[in-house]
């Protein structure tokens, strides 16, 4: 009896595997490891620490997905990808998901055949100038020399902004953020422009951060988010709803500290119950078990905790929540309901 049941299960599993062609979820479970593409080193978002352990805001998303799927936030193989290799790595199946502060754009979503599952950080291109320059608005930057990373969308945004405001600038092309810092501090350019999060982390490293100001103009929309390949909707749903679970957890006050307790005894809030699997069966719809979201939250905390730990105002980078506050606090971070 037992043996035939086992054989039956095995057959069913074989058929299921046969029908679900190239299911990323099955692949991940079979490998017992999530292959997650991250940046090769970006302050606050992805970096290996002195012990070689990956830390950061994007890294935390990978860990949450690994915890939801495999039950362990450490079962992640971090594949460092450069700006040039990230999309091929994802398209070719070398990685299962990409969390590498990648801007969600039309062409990437549609033409490159990826699926952005959400936004985990709303960024935008800004300007940093020395206060000694006496500039209070980007529109006063006529004739300025601007340090800019070549081959990125920031270059195009900059050209658009200056042209639409009828002012001129002189670009100083640079390759990396480190080079930009050195050039800017040496006075090779009056202005440094890149994503506002990058400006914040760069400014925080200066000897006298107060001597430099980030101008109020944000000239582009850079919604950054994790992405997966087209064509595997189940896997896309898992990553999307793991991110949503982190966001919803913050909204509902579920933290890494209390997730175990709230999950134990069914609380009063039905959405918390649905999120943590004490009520309803949302996990099974995803092809996971009941506790998937609880595990994802337990590994690094909810969205707000992850933000505060990696890039928040208490860290050396010190980015305010701003647009990235929960919608209940006037920000843009918003998740569809767990229902």
């Amino acid at each position: 009896m037992k043996k035939s049941a086992f054989l039956g299960t095995l057959t069913a599993a074989t058929f299921a595997a046969g029908f679900a062609t190239a299911g990323t979820l099955e692949d991940v479970k079979a490998a017992d490891e999530l292959k997650c593409g991250v940046a090769t080193g970006l302050a606050g978002f992805a970096a290996a620490d002195a012990a070689g352990v990956w830390q950061g805001f994007d890294v935390a998303v990978c860990r949450a997905v690994a915890a939801a799927v495999l039950g362990d936030g450490t079962k992640v193989k971090f594949v460092p990808t450069t700006g040039k290799t990230r999309f091929t790595a994802l398209a070719s199946g070398e990685i299962d998901m990409l969390a590498r502060n990648t801007t969600w754009t039309f062409s990437r979503d549609v033409d490159l055949k990826f699926e952005f599952v959400g936004v985990n950080y709303y960024d935008g291109q800004g300007f940093m100038v020395p206060k000694a320059l006496g500039v209070s608005s980007a529109k006063e930057l006529d004739g300025a020399t601007v340090c800019i990373q070549t081959g990125t969308t920031t270059e195009l945004n900059l050209a658009d902004f200056f042209r639409s405001n009828n002012i001129s600038y002189e670009p100083v092309p640079i390759e990396t953020n480190a080079e930009a810092q050195a050039q800017y501090l040496a006075g090779a350019c009056d202005v440094y422009t890149t994503d506002a999060s990058g400006l914040a982390s760069t400014r925080a490293t200066f000897e006298n951060p107060a001597d430099h100001a980030v101008l109020p103009e944000i000239i582009s929309k850079e919604p950054l988010g994790p992405l997966v390949r087209h064509g595997d909707n189940q896997w896309g749903d898992i990553v999307r709803w793991t991110l949503n679970a982190l966001i919803t957890a913050e909204e509902l006050g579920v933290t890494s500290a209390n997730v175990g307790k709230t999950g134990m005894e069914a609380g009063k809030n039905p959405e918390v119950n649905r999120l943590l699997g004490t009520e309803g069966d949302l996990g099974a719809m995803l092809g996971l078990d009941k506790d998937w979201a609880a595990r994802a939250i337990a590994v690094g905390g909810n969205y707000g905790e992850i933000f505060e730990k990696n890039i928040g105002e208490k860290t050396a980078i010190g980015i305010a929540r701003g647009l990235n506050a929960s919608w209940t606090d006037g920000g843009l971070i918003y998740s569809a309901p767990f229902r």
Binding site: G41, T82, T88, E207, A316
Partner: protein, 435 residues
């Protein structure tokens, strides 16, 4: 006979050379101030050297070895009353991350493995590099690549040994088949076929079977954890050892009379030399992914090693072809007149001379290859430069620039300078006087 003479009969004692020609004064005069132009050049050069040192030394001598972050460094320097952007170097980053710069993310508890491999590398290279070392050690040099692979990547020892057994089988096949068939051609074909069949069909089962009986294994280390100078040395060393024989074969092929062989060698060399290394690296990291069936896990480090080796062997082929072209025709004719066949003539007469002529070119290619390994960062492998980016992504060290580059530059200099010194030693030793 009168007891006087018109010329001096005894030697005068040697006089001390004039003060202006010996000692420090003389050295200065001959080397630094021998003419007005040289004196001016000396003074100008001294000025530049001194002002450079005056800028760099105070910066470099900065008591920040124990600092935990860049702001820590600034605090230490501030207490000493040193202010400003170039107040002093922040060496704490090297103290905290030097293992990462040297070995990447290699597990700390297993660091002895690359160290042992490095020491054994010295033993393996000694008989190749120096004639005074007993030749029997060459056996160790032959086994070393497999031992090194096992030490660095870990896993079962039987897998690399089984691969090595394939090479031994090839040798046995050559001897046996040649003896019994009487034809060298059949022997050569067997030599190529036997190890390939062995590697495809038998390596895995045999090594796992032996491992089952006698499990000797080290903990496996994934390729992506190998980085820093360990990665640079691994890629460089593979490229260097494999590109030399490949280059010799390609150079000979290019001079061959067989059109098919000749033009395939020419096409290979010209194609590889015609594309930048970065393009080849992109092919290795991205394009190959599309061609391989999904799910195959062809190690990126291995792919990059293959590409770097191909790249280096094309350049090596041209360097060696230069050496071959420099040999007078008389050498070839002399070999022919002695009745030597093609391979014996190459081995005994042509190659020793051609290689000797090409030593500076060969070593330059090696040094260039070693430095080119920093390019692998663009495909996401952690070479020392990309590691420095990663270290800066830690907000504690964000903004530290020259300390990291200085350290990396110093280590590269040690490697490249010793290679160039060795090449000069070799040239002196092999100088048999053609001048």
């Amino acid at each position: 006979m009168p007891d006087f003479s018109y010329v001096r009969s005894e030697m005068l004692p040697e006089k001390a050379p004039p003060k202006s020609e010996v000692g420090i004064y003389g050295w200065l005069r001959t080397n630094l101030f021998s003419s007005v132009t040289n004196s001016i050049l000396t003074v100008v050069a001294l000025y530049f050297v001194v002002s450079l040192l005056r800028g760099v030394l105070p910066w470099a001598f900065s008591p920040t070895w124990g600092a935990e972050s860049l702001s820590d460094c600034r605090g230490i320097l501030h207490e000493l009353g040193r202010e400003g952007h170039f107040a002093g170097a922040c060496w704490g980053v090297i103290r905290e991350r030097w293992t990462q710069l040297l070995f990447g993310f290699y597990p700390i508890e297993a660091l002895w493995r690359p160290l042992v491999a490095f020491i054994l590398l010295g033993v393996a290279m000694a008989p190749v590099l120096f004639t005074s070392v007993p030749k029997k050690l060459l056996w160790f040099s032959a086994v070393f690549p497999f031992l090194c692979f096992w030490l660095i990547w870990g896993g079962s020892i039987w897998f690399p040994l089984a691969i090595f057994a394939g090479l031994l089988l090839a040798g046995v096949a050559f001897i046996l088949v040649t003896r019994y068939s009487g034809s060298t051609l059949v022997g050569v074909i067997a030599t190529m076929l036997v190890p390939v069949l062995w590697w495809i069909f038998f390596t895995d089962p045999v090594s796992s079977a032996v491992h089952f009986v006698l499990p000797i294994s080290l903990e496996q280390v994934e390729s992506q954890n190998i980085g820093g100078f360990l990665l640079a040395v691994l890629i460089g060393l593979t490229g260097v050892t494999l590109s030399l024989p490949l280059g010799v074969i390609l150079a000979l092929g290019r001079q061959s009379d067989l059109p098919l062989l000749k033009y395939s060698c020419v096409a290979f060399i010209e194609f590889i030399r015609g594309v930048p290394l970065i393009t080849l690296l992109f092919v290795a990291s991205t394009l190959l992914n599309y061609f391989m069936p999904p799910g195959t896990n062809f190690d990126l480090v291995l792919r990059v090693m293959i590409m770097v080796t191909l790249f280096a062997s094309a350049y090596m082929a041209e360097v060696i072809r230069g050496g071959l072209a420099a040999l007078p025709t008389g050498q070839y004719e002399a070999a022919d007149s002695l009745g030597l066949n093609y391979w014996t003539a190459q081995r005994l007469i042509i190659m020793p001379q051609a290689l000797k002529i090409s030593i500076p070119g060969i070593v330059s290619t090696f040094i260039g290859l070693f430095k080119d390994t920093t390019l692998v960062g663009i495909v996401g492998l952690f070479d020392p430069i990309l590691l420095s980016t990663n270290i800066r992504a830690d907000q504690a060290w964000n903004g530290v620039l020259w300390e990291l580059y200085g350290f990396i530059g110093l280590v590269f200099f040690i490697f490249c300078f010793s290679m160039s010194r060795y090449s000069m030693y070799l040239e002196r030793k092999l100088a048999t006087g053609h001048r």
